[in-house]
Each structure stands twice: as C-alpha cells, then as structure tokens.
C-alpha cells in the first residue's frame, strides 16, 4: 500500500512538473469521455431507461404484423384479444394527444395540454399507485351516457398538479372540460411517472373510450392507437404470450367481415398476421423508431472520438516517456523490476485518465442538455429526462477505464521494456533512426484512420445537404409564416357530413379571417388551407374523370383559399388560380399540378376537364379544372417524383382548416405572428393555434436528422482531426528532437534545409497514406451505415473520399510543419557534438 501511495504522489509531482502536457492530455481525455457520457446519457434516457413502474421487465409491446410488415390494430380486434387472452394479466391501448383541448374550471378559455387517451386498465397494468385520489380503472371504460358510466374521469400528472394546482389536495373532484366532454379529476399519478414514452411528459390521462367517437371505436377500417401494451402473467413467457396472441389474432381476423368490394381493399388473410411481442420495459416504440438510428450513429461517433483521444494520450505518454528513459534506467539499475516500473508509469496514466474522467463527467453534465435538445429535432414538446443514473456512471467509468488502460498500461509496458535495454548500457554509435517509434507511428496512423472515418461521414452528409439545398421546391418558402391551427368547434359524429348551414358559417368565418389577416400590417398575402405544404399529411383520394369514370387513380388533395398559391409562391402554368368568385354556389373549380395533368390527361390540356372525388357524397359533384400549377415538392425535398395533386377552392368545400399561411415583409414575422394569433382568437375562440412556425422551418424540419448528424459528425470530426493532428505533431516533434543529431549529420553531408523540411513532411504524408489505406474500409463502412441519411451521393462516393483524404493530408501537413521547420533549422554542428 505504501508503494502505491508513493507511486501516486510521484505521479502527481510528475504531472504537475509538465502542466502543458498534463493539460492537453486531461483535456483530450475529458473531451472523449465527456462526449461519450453525454451521448450515452441521451441514449439512456431515450432508449434504455425503464419506465418507473412495477416490474417493467414484465411489460410487453404488442406489435401486429402482416406479412412481416408493421400492421394496424383496430379497436374491435383489440377488445376481442383482450377479452380472450390468458397469458397477460392485462392489456391497454394508448392514443396520444400532444395537443388536447382542455378547459380548466375557472379558466377564460380552452388551452392545449399534453394528454393521453388510454384504456381504463392503463395504470393497473403498469402497476402504479396514485399520489392522490384514485387512478383510472376498467370501470372508466364505460362510454359516457351509457349504463354503468360514472362520467368521464381524468387523472393528472404529479408534475402538472404542482405546476397548475400547487399541489392542492382539493384538486380531486374538480371538473375540467376535455375536448367537448365534461370530466372530473379523480386522482394524481405518482411522482416520477410522466407517461409511457421517454421525452413525452403527459399532463392529463383520460379514458380512451370516453373521448373517442363510438363509430370510430367500432370501426374495422380506422386505426387510432399509438400502441398497445400488456403485462405478462407470473410464470408466462413472452414466447407463450406471442404464440397465444398470434393464434387469437388470426381467429378473430378470420371472423371479421370482408371489406366491401367498393373499397378496393384486398381481404386480409389470417395466416398473414402475427402478433409480435417486444419488451415494453422502456415504453412505447415511437421514440426508438424516431431516434434509435441517429442515436446509435451518434454513439458510434463519440466512441470513435474517445478512442482517438485515448490513443492520442497514449502516444503523448510514449513520446514524453522516452525522454525519461535515463531516469527509468537509473531506477532499473537501483533494483526496480519491470513490474514495478510498469506500475509507476501506469499510475501516471491512470491518474491522467481519472482526472480526464472527472472533467469529462463535468463536461457531460454541461453538454448533455444541449445534445438532448439537438436530438429533439425541433419538436418543442419533446423533453428527455437526462438525469444521470447508474448506467450513465457505469459508462463514464468504463470510458475512463478504457482510457486508463490504453493511455496508462500500453505506454507503461512499452517504456519499461525500452528502459531495460537502455539500462543495460548499450552504447549508441548510430544516430537517430526510427527505432522504438513504430508503435507511436502505428497509433498516429490509427488516429488518422479513425479521423478519416468521421471526416468522410461529415463529407457525405455535407454533400447530402448541399444536394438537398440545391433542390427547387417549386414554391418560395422564404418569408412565409405558418400557423398550425385546429378548428376545435364541436363536430358531428365520425363520418357524418357537416350540414349545409354549418358549412356556410364556416365558409363565412374563414373568409372573414382571410380578409382580416390580409389587412394586417406587414402581411403581403394570407391564405387558409385544409392541409398545407410540408405538414406531414399524406392523404390520397381516388379521382373520377366525368368523361372516363374508370380507372380512378389516386391523387393528393387539399382545400385552399383563394390566395394560397400566391402566398406559398407556387407558379401557375396555365389557366387561373382561385379567386373571390369561387364560392359556395358557384361552379366548383379545381387546380391540378403538372403531374396530374400529365398522368391523367396525357398530352391533352387539363383545363376544362371535370374531376370528382371518389368519396361518399362527392362522386357526382365534379370540379372543373381551371388551372395547372407547376410541379412542387409536397412533404420532402427528396421526393423522387412529384405525385398527382388537386387543389379545390376552400369556400366551395369548407373543410376544417389546419394551416394558415402568411407571406410577410422581411423583418415583420414576429409582429405578424402575434397579431395573427390575436386575430384568430378574436374571430373564433375555437380556432386554436398549436404552434407558429415558418414554411422555411417546416421544409428544413424534414432534414433535421441529417442536419443533426452533419453537425455532430462535423463537430466531432473536427475534434478528432484536431486530436489526431496534436498526436501527429507530438510524434513528429519528438522524432525530430530524437533525431536532431541524425538531421545534423544529413545537413553536414550536404542536405539543404528544404530537403530536411520535405523529409519530415514526407513522414507525415506516409502516415496519412497508411491511414488512408487502413481507414478506407472504415470510411466505406461508415458511409454504408449512413446510407439511410444520404441523398444524391453514394456511400462510397469517390469525390468525398478524395476530399476527406485531402483534409487529412492538409491537417497532417499543418501539424507536421512546425516540427519540419524545426528540423530544417537544426544546427549541423550537432553532428560534431559527442554523446
């Protein structure tokens, strides 16, 4: 023990004696360990942390599949499965409502809360107990107004209880209006439980059956579940449950009525179905589906950075340690065995790693929120609980241990071996050379190879973004403000057609809103639409050509107000757009895109053609095509081809709008956004704004994952390159110092300084060439791993590889230049100086 303490004291003294070296080494390790810990913290929070419920490992996700592909589960089948199965102690369904309209008692008007519509068994299956009152139960599944119903019950989260009600115990029994239903708060969920998905904190849970239209509950064609989960009975295995549920799923499907022939849908063969079960310990699968791949890539990137940082420190230790060979030789001469020397040197490396680990954890603590925020990909409702837990500390310790092993043990073993030879007093009659430097060169080449991987990855993503940014969307997204709105006015039952008077009222309201918005200062053009651009909607309807009823090809459709095309900046090719005269009662008109005109009418002009929607009540009410718009992107700039699309005049079919677009003068966005929200609120309190954004942001949002990875790959790639350059600099600087006499001899023999400069630079280039050869398969593998995020560039793109190689060579040249200059400036008289 005394020896260890002595080693530790000595290690402290040695490190303090070289503050520059110590600072670089500790910072390198801290960056590597910090980046790894931060990335793992986010990955842990998003993918690994179990739900804070009883025995989370017994929870299972029910993932229906048809022919091996993900499939949908309709409520009647879910209900039947739940009733007949025996291997699960309970099952529940969840339908998330990130914007749930809620009117709190005493509030001026409705507001949006983060809600979740769940089966009554939700809390009991999760094994949760209330903080206050009671939680939902299966009795709450009774549809309001039906026998046995005690009305709509609501459970609020502990966090919401604190935020909204300051933990008032009298909250139980208070009423609140959820959508159009009067509900009562029956209890508060336990503290720490914020929902069944990481990152999505819920304010209020209400019974799914109370808040869902009975027709939708009974539908065999409309799905609305976000997920279904269950809990294995004691003794039951996942395999048994999967076998039972699959069997029941097929039996239930076999008894399902066949779809009507008019639907065009192929009947579902029971044998094609399977109920796949996966662990539900971490909750629903939406987060892993969205973030799993980017997070795994980020983890791989920071892992590479950690490796580079650690190798870098090992290299610096080796280079610096060589200068201590006389000291170590003396220790050997005084009787220190090799093991003792290894221990002493390893203690120094271990101390560096420990200091790096401590600083790294601190950096991770500071950087994790920023990384988590980046990974939210612009979703403001997404907020991960990134508090460190045992797993995070385990990873930080593992990263530190790896650093200690590589940066401590490796140089220690190597140097102690060298020392034994030096200690034997071998006389040096030859000068310089690269003896003993092979390992450091291999390590530098390894760093450069790993850097090539990151630089190539960043290059591929950069080229992807360049390609995407060069795509013409077919409209002008700049200076267009978007309001994501919902018309929350009470609606009729599911599938019912709005009565004419309601349509007329709505048309009048929308006209008024459009006029008021158009009159706002700074607004150049205002429009309303049912769906809008880049909103993620993907609705297709069959079109019936009045002159040729069959076939009925599918097309995207939207209902837009008269100034829509001007507002979003679409280009009219032929005919006209909509105008003020296109109102209810006037001939129904439509505008189509080039793709529809081309595919539906071939070379003939589409203007004047009559198209009806293949939809109940619409088949015999055709729209006359009055204009053809230039093709444009709809949901993603990377769409390979434009799909047929038809726009109809909103006043002639006033569907509930979801989007308001405003073309504004440069610099006026903030003021217009505020005024527009006030205008909507004053026009109709039921027209609620979910969020305000811009069309540009909406377009950018579709490449958020690519931009995130580009940012991280570039940032960490740059860091990796910097670390590798520091490693190369250290190695070459040490080599030049070690070879000063040899260089002096070369100069004495007539080498010019420029020759020596080139000689040292050439060493760096040889390392780069070696690193390129070794790193090429890594870089190709990296490109392959990124293929899902690439656009317009192949994973093995030669130009990117060449560019990455050039970046590497440039960095290496810059790193080698100072040692090379120093070598060129060696005084040739050193050749005459004796050892």
């Amino acid at each position: 023990m005394n020896g260890w303490a002595q080693d530790l004291r000595y290690a402290f003294r040695v490190l303090l004696k070289s503050p520059g070296f110590t600072a670089v080494a500790v910072l390198s390790l801290a960056l590597g360990i910090g980046a790894t810990t931060a990335a793992f913290s986010v990955l842990n929070a998003a993918l690994l942390r179990p739900l804070p419920v009883a025995e989370p490992r017994r929870l299972v996700l029910l993932l229906p599949e048809r022919r091996g592909e993900r499939y949908i589960l309709f409520n009647p089948i879910f209900e039947e499965l739940r009733r007949r199965q025996h291997t699960l102690s309970g099952m529940f369904a969840v339908s998330g409502a990130p914007f749930l309209k809620v009117t709190l008692a005493g509030a001026a008007g409705p507001t949006y809360l983060r809600g979740s519509l769940v089966s009554g068994s939700y809390f009991s299956v999760l094994g949760l107990a209330p903080s206050l009152g009671r939680l939902l139960s299966e009795h709450d599944d009774a549809i309001a107004g039906t026998p046995g119903s005690a009305g709509c019950a609501a459970v609020i989260s502990h966090r919401f209880w604190i935020r909204q009600f300051q933990q008032d115990p009298a909250v139980v029994g208070r009423s609140l209006r959820v959508r159009d239903a009067e509900c009562t708060i029956v209890g508060v969920a336990p503290a720490g439980f914020d929902g069944d998905q990481a990152g999505h904190s819920i304010d209020v849970w209400v019974p799914l059956r109370s808040l869902t239209d009975p027709k939708l509950l009974a539908s065999h064609g409309m799905a609305f579940f976000d997920g279904v989960m269950g809990r294995l009975r004691p003794g039951a295995t996942m395999g048994q449950a999967e076998a039972e549920l699959t069997s029941l799923y097929r039996q239930i499907q076999a008894a399902e009525p066949a779809p009507p022939p008019s639907s065009g849908a192929a009947p579902v063969r029971p044998d094609d179905l399977r109920m796949h079960l996966a662990s539900g310990a971490q909750g629903l699968h939406a987060v892993p589906r969205r973030l799993g791949e980017p997070l795994r890539i980020v983890m791989a990137i920071v892992g590479v950075v950690l490796l580079i940082a650690t190798v870098n420190v090992a290299n610096l230790m080796l280079a610096r340690g060589a200068a201590r060979i006389p000291e170590l030789a003396t220790r050997t001469a005084l009787g220190a065995g090799r093991g003792r020397l290894v221990r002493q040197l390893a203690t120094e490396g271990g101390l560096l790693a420990a200091l790096g680990g401590l600083l790294g954890v601190e950096l991770a603590y500071l950087g994790t929120p920023a990384l988590a925020s980046l990974l939210s990909l612009g979703d403001t409702t997404f907020s991960l609980d990134i508090a460190a837990d045992g797993r995070v500390f385990a990873v930080a310790i593992a990263a530190t241990t790896l650093a200690a092993l590589l940066a401590g043990i490796l140089p220690a073993v190597r140097l102690s071996g060298t020392t034994l030879q030096a200690g034997m007093g071998v006389q040096q009659r030859v000068t310089g050379g690269r003896h003993g430097q092979r390992l450091t060169r291999v390590l530098v080449a390894a760093q450069l190879s790993l850097s090539l991987l990151l630089v190539t990855s960043a290059g591929l993503l950069l080229r992807t973004m360049v390609r995407i940014s060069g795509i013409d969307p077919g409209f002008r997204p700049a200076h267009v403000l978007l309001l994501d709105v919902r018309d929350e006015a009470p609606s009729g039952s599911f599938g019912a057609v709005d009565p004419p008077e309601q349509k007329a009222r709505r048309a009048a309201l929308y006209r008024t809103i459009e006029e008021r918005l158009s009159a706002l200062p700074g607004v150049e053009s205002a429009s309303l639409s049912w769906l809008g651009l880049f909103g993620g909607s993907n609705l297709w309807l069959g079109l019936i050509d009045a002159d040729q009823p069959d076939p009925r090809p599918l097309a995207r459709v939207d209902y837009v107000s008269s100034r829509y095309f001007d507002t979003v900046g679409m280009q009219l090719l032929r005919g006209r757009g909509f105008n003020e005269s296109d109102r209810e009662g006037t001939p129904r008109v439509a505008v189509v895109n080039e793709a529809l005109a081309r595919e539906r009418f071939g070379g003939r002009d589409a203007i004047g053609r009559r198209l009806a929607l293949d939809y109940r009540g619409e088949q015999d009410r055709p729209f006359t095509v009055v204009g053809v718009m230039r093709d444009s992107k709809y949901n993603d700039l990377r769409e390979d081809q434009t799909r047929p699309m038809m726009w109809m005049a909103l006043p002639q079919a006033p569907f509930r709008i979801t989007s308001v677009a405003l073309r504004v003068a440069p610099g006026a966005s903030a003021a217009v956004a505020r005024q527009a929200q006030e205008t909507l609120a004053s026009a109709n309190a039921e027209l609620m704004v979910r969020r305000v954004t811009t069309l540009s942001a909406q377009v950018r949002g579709t490449t958020a994952r690519e931009r995130l990875l580009l940012g991280l790959a570039s940032g960490f790639g740059g860091l990796a390159l910097l670390l590798a350059a520091v490693g190369l600099y250290g190695t070459l600087a040490y080599a030049v110092t070690r070879r000063t006499r040899e260089i002096g001899v070369r100069l004495a023999l007539g080498a010019r300084p420029a020759t020596v400069l080139r000689m040292v630079l050439a060493e760096a280039w040889v390392l780069v060439a070696g690193a390129f050869v070794v790193g090429l398969p890594l870089a190709l593998g990296g490109g392959y791993a990124l293929r899902a995020f690439l656009f317009g560039v192949e994973p093995q793109d030669l130009m990117t590889l060449a560019g990455a190689g050039a970046v590497l060579a440039l960095a290496a040249t810059l790193a080698a230049y100072i040692p090379a200059r120093r070598a060129a400036a060696v005084d040739p008289m050193t050749a005459l100086r004796y050892e």
Partner: protein, 241 residues
C-alpha cells in the same frame, strides 16, 4: 603529396576569429587564425580540450560561420554564404568523418554511403556505382546490405569514411576519428586514412592524441583559440612533435 607551393591553396584562412556570445559572457573561441592547406596535404589540428579545435573544424566544414576574417576554399570566399550555398559546397567539396561515426540507423551501409550523392541529385545508376566503389575502397563492399548496428565500431567508422569519400570531395575533415574506437580499430582507421592520403586525398584531422597526430604531414597546435605552433613532418608517421 602537396602540390606546388605556387598553386593557390585549397583552404586559406586569414585573421579568422569566432566569438560566442551568451547573455553575459563573450567567449573568443578562435582569434587571428591564419592557415593555408594545400591540395594533397594531411594536416592534424591538435590541442587540449576547449582550445577551439572543433570550432575551427566546423568553420572549415562550413557548419559554422566565422565572426570575422576571410575563409577561401578553392580560391573562393565562403565565409558569408547562405545556408543553401553552404550546403551545396559541403556536399560537393567536403567529406566529414565524425568521432561518433554518425551512421543513420535506419539506413543500410550502402544507403548511408549513398546519402551525400542523393542530396546531390545524382542518377541512381551512378550513385550505385560510386557507392559500391567507395565501400570497396574501405574494404566494406561485402557488408553493403547490413545495418550499422550489425557492424563493429571499426567497421562503422570505415563505412563513415566511405561515405566521406564517395562524393570525391576536395578535402576530408575528420573529427577525432578514432575517439570511439579501441586501439586496434583506431590504428586500422588511421592506416586507412594514410592510404587515402597516399592516393591523393587532402585530409584535415582534429585530434587531441599526439600519437595519431603524428600520422599527418603537418600538425597545427591550438591553445586558447590561437595557433601556437606548427610542426612539419619529413616523413609522415615518424616525426616527433
């Protein structure tokens, strides 16, 4: 072996001095040196440690510049040349033999010898031919592919001599060439240098060992940076200083 006294000297130093400046001290390493070396001479520079022998040799070898005075090599003033010009002259006119041999550990014997010709930009075939001949001349042709670490000290110094010879320089500058050798190997190297001299090489050798200085035709004694004495041997190797 000296040329006619009327021929211009190969090396001419006039009132040469070298002063080293440090923060507080000014050290006169050489002062008022006058020296002429004719083509074919074998000159030894002797003197105690710190007398300026190595400083003089480094100036003769264009590794260092004098503070003052004239240095002519083959009739051309060389004391004010820039680094590249000095490197070129070193490469073509001067051959170095170092006390520590200074062979480069990573290069084979052949590559070590070939090195000065490489810096000269000579074609590969000619380099090969001349390097092989130089090695044969010092009796090391059979060890061309070995690494320096595989040779004895005497063999390493022979290789170093071959390297000095290969460029056919005007003068060989030897800095204590036997300093790291045992007496048997030291004698062998001195014999080799005598052979070179007999065959026309001009040699200037620094030594502090009078026994080896006797091998030269002339011995110049330095003390405190000044020439204090000069002996000329009638027959090399038999004179007494």
């Amino acid at each position: 072996m000296s040329t006619s006294p009327t021929a211009p000297p190969l090396i001419r130093l006039e009132n040469l001095s070298k002063v080293f400046y440090t923060d507080e001290v000014e050290t006169h390493a050489l002062a008022g040196i006058h020296l002429e070396i004719q083509k074919g001479d074998y000159v030894a520079i002797a003197g105690p440690s710190g007398c300026g022998k190595s400083t003089l040799l480094s100036i003769l070898g264009l590794l260092d510049s004098p503070t003052d005075g004239l240095y002519q090599l083959n009739g051309n003033a060389v004391q004010d040349l820039d680094l590249a010009q000095r490197a070129r002259i070193r490469n073509r006119e001067i051959g170095f033999i170092f006390q520590s041999f200074n062979l480069i550990g990573d290069l084979t014997v052949f590559e070590n010898v070939e090195l000065p010709l490489t810096y000269r930009g000579m074609r590969s075939a000619e380099r090969r031919d001349r390097s092989q001949k130089a090695l044969e001349r010092v009796g090391m042709g059979h060890r061309a592919k070995h690494l320096p670490s595989q040779l004895s000290g005497g063999q390493q110094q022979r290789v170093a001599v071959a390297r000095a010879l290969v460029g056919e320089p005007s003068i060989l500058l030897a800095d204590e060439p036997t300093g790291n050798l045992d007496s048997r190997n030291g004698d062998a190297v001195m014999e080799l240098m005598r052979d070179l001299h007999r065959n026309g090489s001009t040699i200037c050798m620094v030594t502090h060992d009078p026994r080896f200085a006797r091998h030269a035709d002339r011995t110049i004694h330095l003390f405190d940076g000044r020439v204090v004495d000069e002996n000329v041997e009638a027959a090399a190797g038999v004179g007494v200083v």
